[in-house]
């Protein structure tokens, strides 16, 4: 990890996101803090509905403004994201920070060719001619190792396989050399073998281009594969943050322990059956995001729950044996 003398690329402080619906308020994100240095990969791990996508979309200001209340602060590469105006946002998105999505089929416009869709991004940000933009598109397709890239430039999204589409999506996202890539479950919709290829490609491109990545997933194996640090998300909070080794070897939060028990971890020595073989290790229902509990959100499902767990949300504190970089929001993890 890089030195701490320079300011981090991403600084998120006490981020909260609430959606006001007609009948209820959804507390999607409830106080997320983290920093990310240039060239570093943060994996956000959490089950469906824990607020991962909302966190990423907030970083891009993609949420519907009218019904969304955002609290806290976000700085990315010197930009105060929450106070960007229209023009500022357009210049920020795709250039400073880019995003790739879970379903590349849905993220591409079906009636434009892959080449056109990459080229228009380059034209939008760099004001270059069509020829230059197309040349960049070709270069990017080659970079993400799409075979016969020249022909693929003219392909429509439906003419490609899922893995090729995700490669093309990565090519698009990286076309303007962003400093930060936000990846929202980019391998979830793909076959297992293709998943690994995409993860390796992402890791390789991240190293080559030196960009920072926030990689969101519910798959522990994928998170371990690409991340330097891992944040475990539950009910809109990071319940545990630390570098990959520490979190995997010495999980401090009961939720993380449950997640790890339910997954296979390549190369970690923990084995629990075949990949994709989900074991119900955490009993109980996911948390209610409308009526937030006053204490630890995991308390109703936690086998170690005590009386004090239900009164106050635990602060993220250094774990007993993981050092200062390993923060856990659990009263038991602290010595």
């Amino acid at each position: 990890m890089s030195s701490t003398a320079t300011t981090p690329l991403v600084e998120v402080t006490n981020l909260s996101v609430h959606f006001r619906n007609a009948d209820a308020t959804v507390h999607a994100v409830n106080g997320v803090d983290f920093t990310l240095n240039a060239g570093e990969v943060l994996g956000i791990l959490g089950e469906s509905g824990s607020g991962k996508s909302v966190t990423l979309k907030t970083l891009m200001r993609l949420l519907p403004e009218k019904k969304t209340t955002i609290g806290g602060g976000m700085r990315v590469a010197g930009h105060d994201v929450l106070s960007l105006d229209r023009a500022g946002l357009i210049a920020f998105r795709g250039r400073v920070a880019s995003m790739i999505f879970q379903e590349p089929m849905l993220a591409f416009d079906p009636v434009f060719t892959i080449g056109q869709q990459i080229a228009e991004t380059v034209i939008q940000h760099e004001g270059v001619s069509r020829e230059v933009a197309m040349a960049r598109a070709l270069e990017m397709l080659e970079r993400v190792q799409i075979p016969s890239a020249k022909r693929r430039l003219e392909a429509y999204p439906h003419e490609m396989s899922g893995g090729m589409r995700q490669r093309a999506m990565i090519a698009l996202a990286l076309a303007c050399k962003p400093q930060l890539l936000l990846a929202d479950e980019p391998t979830t919709a793909l076959d297992a073998t293709v998943q690994i290829q995409i993860l390796l490609l992402l890791r390789q491109l991240q190293k080559e281009m030196g960009m920072a990545v926030i990689f969101v997933t519910h798959d522990v194996g994928a998170a371990v594969e690409v991340s330097d640090r891992i944040a475990v998300m539950y009910a809109g909070r990071f319940v545990e943050t630390g570098d990959v080794r520490t979190v995997i070897r010495k999980p401090g939060h009961p939720y993380t322990q449950g997640l790890l028990a339910a997954n296979v971890l390549p190369g970690t020595g923990i084995h629990a059956g075949k990949r994709g073989d989900r074991i119900e290790a955490i009993p109980g229902a996911p948390p209610n995001m409308v009526t937030l509990a006053p204490g630890c959100a995991f308390e109703p499902r936690c086998k170690w729950a005590e009386e004090r767990c239900g009164t106050k949300v635990p602060e993220p504190l250094p774990s007993a044996d993981g050092g200062a970089a390993h923060l856990v929001r659990c009263v038991r993890a602290v010595a």
Binding site: I90, R93, G94, M99, L106, P110, V111, H125
Partner: protein, 316 residues
């Protein structure tokens, strides 16, 4: 792409045959004898037989049909019983009038419909959306002929701004592109434009709203496209559906509106059809219906081809 277009064009032949059979037999399903309308009540049997032979009504129906189709394929639709003029020239005259009317009506209806629809789709569920959608629904629901009469009362009778009937001095033969003649188009064209306006507004609103909800629009914003850039994507995605709807609407209007053309005495195909029905002018009626039906078939093929150009997925 080319084979797709060729295939679509070849489909016209069997459909055309089926359509002409239906046109031909439909008329014979109606009761009454076409000749009785032009014959004096005291006509001798001899005269009736001679006229039947002249018009070919004495032959068995399949033979009549075969002859009719063969001649129709060569562009000859027979002679009008009422006027004695070729059906072709009667239709040709009426078409040019209906065409003019339809183009004006579509020009007005599509422009307003597209603008209203895009605005409503972009600001859906706001008060502006509700106003625009309200206008569209009203436009579709109002009966045409009633609207036409209201227009006549307001703009022709009360205000006396525009003429109420016909195509100007000398009828359609003396048509010219000056205000003296064009002003006769205004009221029927505006009346006719309400339905395409309403339908195009509703369709556009629904299509635009649906596209804006798709994930790729969020992806476009995420890569930094400005509003104009996103708009281009919305337009190209909406185009196939909108073209189809507008094509069909244009088709309906080109088919001529019996009611509106009758209200305004506009000498188009609808008016012609009306005349043919009331005069029991069988050749004119068959010819006009066949022409209109074939017109719809060809129109559908054109719409299909245009759609395939906009949406590559259709071609497969």
């Amino acid at each position: 792409m080319f084979t797709y277009i060729l295939k679509r064009i070849l489909y016209v032949i069997p459909i055309g045959l089926a359509v002409s059979l239906v046109c031909f037999s439909l008329v014979f399903l109606a009761p009454g004898d076409p000749l009785s309308a032009i014959l004096p009540p005291d006509a001798t049997t001899e005269l009736i037989e001679r006229l039947k032979a002249d018009y070919g009504f004495d032959k068995p129906l399949p033979v009549q049909f075969g002859k009719w189709v063969l001649r129709a394929a060569q562009g000859d639709l027979g002679t009008s019983i009422a006027t004695g003029r070729p059906v072709n020239s009667e239709i040709a005259k009426a078409i040019s009038n209906t065409f003019m009317l339809a183009m004006f009506a579509c020009g007005i209806g599509f422009s307003f419909g597209l603008v209203f629809g895009f605005v409503a789709g972009y600001v859906r569920n706001t008060w502006l959306d509700k106003v625009v959608t309200g206008i569209a629904v009203t436009g579709v629901s109002l009966p045409h002929y009633w609207l036409g009469m209201v227009m006549v009362i307001i703009f022709a009778v009360l205000l006396d701004w525009l003429p109420a009937m016909g195509a100007g001095a000398g009828g359609s033969d003396a048509w010219a592109w000056d205000w003296e003649h064009v002003r006769f188009l205004v009221l029927p064209a505006v009346t006719l434009s309400f339905i395409p306006m309403g339908i195009v507004t509703r369709t556009t609103r629904a299509v635009v709203a649906e596209i804006l909800n798709q994930e790729f629009v969020q992806a476009l914003r995420a890569k930094g496209m400005d509003s104009l850039g996103v708009f281009k994507h919305v337009v190209k995605n909406a185009a196939p559906t909108l073209l189809a709807v507008m094509g069909i609407q244009l088709g309906y209007l080109l088919g001529g509106s019996i009611l509106v053309e009758t209200v305004f005495s506009w000498p188009g195909t609808g008016f012609l059809l009306n005349t043919a029905i009331f005069q029991r002018d069988l050749p004119l009626l068959q010819g006009t219906i066949l022409f209109l039906a074939m017109f719809f078939v060809v129109l559908n093929v054109l719409v299909d081809i245009l759609q395939s150009i906009f949406d590559p997925r259709i071609r497969r």
